[in-house]
């Protein structure tokens, strides 16, 4: 009996050890799709058949719009109805998890076939060789369906790495009532824009103070954490620097106009138009401040914010307890970013879309064609129309526009016109910037520009000190001849 127990215990222990080993084993999944798709591809090579081979396309998708993830099963069904041999398998992810989930899968060599991400993120995956160039697999009809400007954003060098879902502008948003009270002709500004000097005076008018305490600021922009990157990037575009590199591929943020923007950032806080605690105001907080009437203008502003404000207004009207605590009815007005240093205003365009990926193994032409079909399905037609309407975003495909004709959207027509005017002057795509230069610029931005900007906003360094630090780091990264000198 004792011996039997010993043998049993040994077997149990070895089983546990083997289980651990098995769990770490590779499932030999390749990036040609799922194992099923690999087998099917192989079968297709050996069996001569008139039927198209079965294939599975995987997609990692965040909640692009409020109702987007609710439609996943319908999207999978519709895709399968369109292509009976193909299966679209959607993996949902939250915005918070999206990048980390994708990066982990990419670095393990087994990313999804399609992932939703910002066009600015494409270069790092191209640099790694993991983004899939779909130039040869995208048909002429597919390409012709997209507006040219957003499609350019999905390019890097000569390669096309996916299809755009929407093109938005990073603008500002104002409270209609407060703008009118401050005597600001917002309709004129929507049409003609404004200079920083005019903007500075206008936001001063929006400040409400009593007994030394400010109950409403003129302007609050989210600058805590990653949002600080947006703040400066949006402003410098209207100061003659539409991208980190000029057309000669010289680093642009060493221009004297950059220093002017930094000075203007500081002066708005010193005026009392922006809170002195701005460096700790994150995206959630400043939106709360907008809805609760603690600021007249907020940034960054996206078209979808009008939808969020409208929904909150309805909740307030209906006495719904889920309305933001302390919020007041606020009519959201889209406003352009002011121009700086006598330069022409240029809206900051943001293009997000469906990017195609490859795994460690080169995908077969059949699988690549299927991935393109799935990406196009998601970026056009009914899916795009529904999603962009939900986001209050402009339609960028002919098929999407057609589908959207039958859908109604409750938008302020002035806002629609303002967004369209800004899109017309939006910063163009820069697929010519080499990936290594782009990667260096991102690192410089993360390790020098953002930390120094946080210190500048907190009042701990001067604009000149920040400018000098950025210039020194830029010269170190790109060389004396690699930076703009004016």
């Amino acid at each position: 009996m004792k011996r039997k127990m010993r043998v049993l215990a040994s077997i149990c222990a070895l089983t546990l050890a083997l289980t651990a080993l098995t769990a770490c084993g590779s499932s030999s999944t390749t990036k040609e799709g799922t194992p099923e798709s690999t087998n099917n591809t192989n079968n297709n090579n050996t069996n001569v058949s008139t039927e198209a081979a079965k294939d599975t396309i995987t997609a990692l998708l965040p909640p692009v719009s409020p109702a987007y993830q609710e439609n996943f099963s319908q999207m999978e069904k519709d895709f399968n109805a369109l292509y009976p041999n193909l299966t679209l398998k959607i993996e949902p992810a939250s915005w918070e998890d999206m990048t980390q989930k994708l990066d982990t899968q990419v670095n393990a060599g087994s990313p999804p076939d399609i992932a939703f991400l910002g066009s600015s993120g494409i270069s790092k995956y191209v640099e790694q060789g993991m983004a899939l160039d779909i130039t040869d697999a995208a048909t002429a009809e597919m390409i012709a369906d997209f507006d040219q400007a957003p499609l350019e954003y999905m390019k890097n060098g000569t390669g096309l790495y996916g299809f755009p879902a929407y093109m938005e502008v990073h603008a500002l948003g104002g409270n209609k009532e407060f703008l009118e009270k401050a005597g600001i002709d917002y309709k004129k500004i929507q049409k003609e824009g404004w200079t920083f000097e005019q903007f500075r005076e206008d936001i001063k008018k929006g400040v409400v103070s009593e007994g030394g305490k400010t109950s409403r600021y003129g302007f609050v922009f989210a600058t805590a954490g990653v949002a600080s990157k947006d703040y400066l990037a949006i402003l410098v575009k209207s100061a003659g620097m539409p991208a980190a590199f000029n057309k000669d591929l010289k680093f642009a943020y060493t221009s004297k106009n950059y220093l002017e923007v930094l000075k203007d950032i500081r002066v708005m806080i010193d005026d009392g138009s922006m809170p002195k605690e701005l460096s700790s105001v994150d995206a959630g907080k400043r939106w709360n401040m907008f809805l609760t009437g603690q600021t007249m203008i907020t940034g960054k502003g996206l078209a979808v914010f009008e939808n969020s404000a409208n929904k909150n207004n309805e909740k307030i009207k209906a006495n719904d307890g889920s309305a933001v605590k302390g919020s007041i009815p606020a009519e959201y007005i889209v406003l352009p970013v002011p121009s700086f240093a006598g330069q022409k205003a240029m809206a900051s365009a943001v293009v997000d879309g469906y990017v195609a990926f490859r795994g460690k193994k080169e995908p077969t032409p059949e699988h690549k064609a299927n991935v393109v079909k799935a990406a196009y399905f998601l970026a056009s037609g009914k899916v795009a129309a529904t999603t962009n309407n939900d986001l209050f975003a402009a339609h960028i495909t002919k098929s999407g526009k057609k589908e959207a004709e039958s859908m109604t959207v409750n938008r302020n027509p002035d806002n629609v016109a303002a967004v369209e005017a800004m899109l017309a002057t939006a910063s163009p795509a820069r697929p010519d910037i080499p990936t290594d230069l782009g990667a260096k610029a991102i690192k410089l931005e993360d390790e020098v520009i953002i930390p120094k900007l946080q210190a500048l906003i907190a009042g701990e360094i001067t604009p000149e000190a920040m400018y000098d630090a950025v210039k020194a780091a830029a010269i170190q990264a790109f060389g004396e001849d690699g930076v703009v000198k004016d």
Binding site: R6, A9, S10, I11, A13, L14, L16, A17, A20, L21, C24, Q100, D103, T104, V106, N107, A108, G109, K124, E127, Q128, G129, M130, K213, A224, G225, V226, P275, K276, E277, L278, S279, S280, V281, K360, A439, I442, K443, D446, E447, I450, P451, K452, Q454, A455, I457, A458, G459, E460, I461
Partner: protein, 300 residues
């Protein structure tokens, strides 16, 4: 000359030894898979420019780049400052609380142990959200309201270089002592009552008993908590990541966060691996020093 072949000795696994080897195998396999293999991989990757489709050997470049990088040294400095400010205070608070709990009845002791251990059970993200609320920079933030009662202006706790590190340290001081309290309590309960009785006969005060009985008897426990505390503090990541993101002006960028950023933000896995091995060497060195100077007369 002919050689006489020696008969091969076959070692037999006798008695309980077979089961013993099997049990050791489990631990060894798990250790090899989840500790030794990743460490070895990190060592190899640290000499490479890592790419998912094929890495390139680049020698010591990742180590040289790291040692030349001012941000790496700033992160080391920040980590040392954080460790120096948090670990000794954490030990002091844990010992103090344990001494306060010790005279209580067993049931009450358990209640307090559970209360102090609760933050360790809660999600770090949830705790950080609460702390973000406490450190709200506006005048209606919790800490700022407290300051307001004394007529002090609101402080931009996490948004200014002058206060951001202190805010993280304060957060550490006011939370996460549960494990240390439980360990200290167990050690305090292990001190023989006869020591206290003898001291009382000699008319020793509370402080004398603390100094001559409690502290020497707790030395192995204190050394253990100090070493593990320093190791944990050097690897701190979550607080900086969730509360400040390393800012402002990299004032709270710890080595752990820098390694994470290099690996998962910039995909520089080689550099991240090199920095993590440098960090491991630093931690190993500090632990050795601690054992050498503080563990001389420690008996286990």
């Amino acid at each position: 000359m002919t050689q006489i072949a020696k008969p091969i000795k076959r070692r037999k696994i006798k008695g309980d030894s077979g089961a013993g080897y099997a049990f050791i195998a489990v631990a060894l396999v798990i250790f090899a898979l989840f500790t030794a293999y990743p460490v070895l991989s990190a060592l190899i990757i640290s000499f490479q420019k890592y790419m998912p489709l094929g890495s390139k050997f680049i020698g010591f470049d990742n180590y040289i780049d790291s040692l030349k990088d001012p941000l790496f040294w700033k992160a080391i400095k920040n980590t040392v400052v954080y460790t120096v400010l948090t670990v000794p205070v954490a030990l002091f608070i844990s010992l103090g609380v344990s001494l306060l709990i010790l005279p209580l009845k067993k049931k009450l002791q358990t209640v307090f142990k559970a209360i102090y251990y609760l933050p360790a059970v809660a999600s770090g993200v949830a705790l950080s959200v609460v702390w973000l609320w406490i450190f709200d920079p506006m005048p209606n933030g919790i800490f700022n309201q407290l300051l307001g009662y004394f007529g002090i202006n609101n402080v931009n706790w996490l948004g200014a270089t002058s206060t951001s590190m202190f805010s993280l340290v304060l957060m550490s001081w006011l939370s996460s002592h549960g494990t240390s309290i439980i360990i200290y309590l167990a050690a305090l309960l292990g001190i023989d009552d006869s020591y206290y009785e003898a001291a009382e006969l000699d008319g020793a005060s509370f402080l004398k008993k603390l100094w001559y009985i409690v502290i020497p008897c707790l030395k192995p426990t204190t050394l253990f908590l100090l070493v593990t505390g320093v190791i944990g503090s050097f690897q701190v990541f979550q607080n900086a990541y969730l509360m400040t993101g390393g800012g402002p002006d990299n004032a709270t960028t710890m080595v752990g966060l820098l390694i994470f950023n290099n690996a998962f933000k910039y995909f520089e896995f080689g550099k991240a691996a090199a920095q993590s091995l440098i960090l491991a060497l630093i931690i190993g060195g500090i632990s050795l020093i601690q054992f050498k100077f503080l563990g001389k007369d420690v008996e286990y």
